[in-house]
Amino acid sequence: MSKIEFMQGNTACAEGALAAGCNFFGGYPITPSTEIAEHMARRLPKKDGVFIQMEDEIASIAAVIGASWTGARAMTATSGPGFSLMMENIGYAVMTETPCVIVNIQRGGPSTGQPTMGAQGDMLQCRFGSHGDYSTIALCPSSAQEMYDLTVKAFNLADRFRLPVFVMSDEVIAHTRERITIPDHVEIVPRRPLEKGTLPFHGGDDGVPGFPEFGRGHGVHVTGLTHDERGYPEATDPHIHETLVRRLVSKVESARHDIADYEVVNPDAETVFVTYGPPTRTVKQVMHDHPDDNVGHLHLRIVWPFPERLLKIFTNAKTFIVPEMNMGQIVREVERHTCLPVIRVPKLGGELHTPDELHKLLEARP
């Protein structure tokens, strides 16, 4: 029987993680993600999991990666300043193909910024923040229910692609208490173990190798140096580096339309809103207050890898409007993939777009 609960986004995220089988949390307190750590500290020891508050965010992500190699489903939660600190080790997780989940409750930046106000300013950072070429997956919840569901999905995607996956939420959704429905059954897709006789870094048909868990006799050497398919460092061979980096990028990019998670309203509209995260709620309110068949909405739940083919669903589109709580980050992807005019609606300061603002924009159309 599914249950109805009333909880804030952070708690929903933690509950979703526990439902997905998370059994290791290594974190450091930072507003506005601290509630996730506190909830995990209370719940994990009772479920035979491990909670540890590490000395800083760098140590947190390091402990999460280490735990993941022993087979645990591990996660951490942080915000802007901690996210910047974690970047080197995120690159390490990408290079070593370690599955883990990193929740970033975005807050006003740059630097210490606005610790208690929401923003979406880290969206490009989660894709390009670490050095080198790589690709990654980012999910953006727009409600407490989505915090629960998308966290479960994040664990499954992390295990499927052997990758660190980001849940890019923000202070507004994280601290809003809403009604959520806890399903009685969540689908858990565990990681594929490495078969004996296969190489630990040899991609299968989908480019993803099996996972050689520590302690099972695989004797795997995991390194951040460029490595060949056995895992041995070969840092000076150009061909090996090219093969490795291309596989790391293509294993995600080639599946971007397969994993796309989105919602479409009025596909025949001429003016289309493209949103992710909190502006979704504003747009839904506008469309509820002023129903208009000529206004459509594309709500992205998975933002990276960007599924550009979805823009083509709107065959009659003449304009795209992209409201974001930043100076324009994902709108660059929309602009890149369409020749139609794209209107940016940046909003800084921590407050959401109001329905009136967006409605005035629609009225001002020629």
Binding site: A62, A63, I65, G66, A67, E88, G215, Y232, P233
Partner: protein, 262 residues
Amino acid sequence: MTFLDWYREDRLPHIYCTGCGNGTVINCTLEAVEQMGWAVDDTVFISGIGCSSRAPGYIKTDSLHTTHGRALAFATGVKLANPRLNVVVFTGDGDLAAIGGNHFIHACRRNVDLTVVCMNNMIYGMTGGQGSPCTPVGAISTTTPYGAAEPVFDLSELAVTAGANYVARWTSYHVKELTKAVKVGLETPGFSFIEALTQCPTAYGRRNKLRQVSDMINYLRTNVILIQKTQRMRERGEAVPKDKIPVGEFVRRNRPAMGVPK
């Protein structure tokens, strides 16, 4: 089985220079692990970045070669998630004391059930010979061309103060004592820290008139003093020579430990 059987034969000969102390310390660690009777499948070696940290790539077990200075944080994650695994950490003086200083003191404070073997060659060897927090005062390195001016970190005293359960220091000349110290560290639950002063003839020795391997080994051999002797000297009221480095077992105690398998 001897300690030689723990090496990945297809990866030898390794990249270490002629006469490098790291090869010796790895031999001693593997001999201690072999004497403990651990299985290859249950042991994990974790390391940071540097010459010392290339070691796990040559050992048959599961291993994690992580980012600079963060080996202890990764090791905490591995050990707490699966306490049945035997975790040994290889690190260097720069990796542990400079960039990894914070993780070092917290791992000692938490007393996680790990064994850390620090190969202290008093220099940043892999990157060409820059000064490290353990470079002796007055020594020449590429970033201290007029002689190192900063005071030296005493890693063993730091570990004792931060709360490690077992701390010992030996040099790569004292192979038998080093092996025994590592073995005691592996047996002791809680955080065990073994510092091994090693020779780096290429990066340190060449710039400090100790280019010959035998010269550097003699330097290490003559500039150490047994810690029991310093204690006796203090009891008798004699002045302890300041230029000699104490070696031996610093502390062995039973503070509560984390990650010990039940």
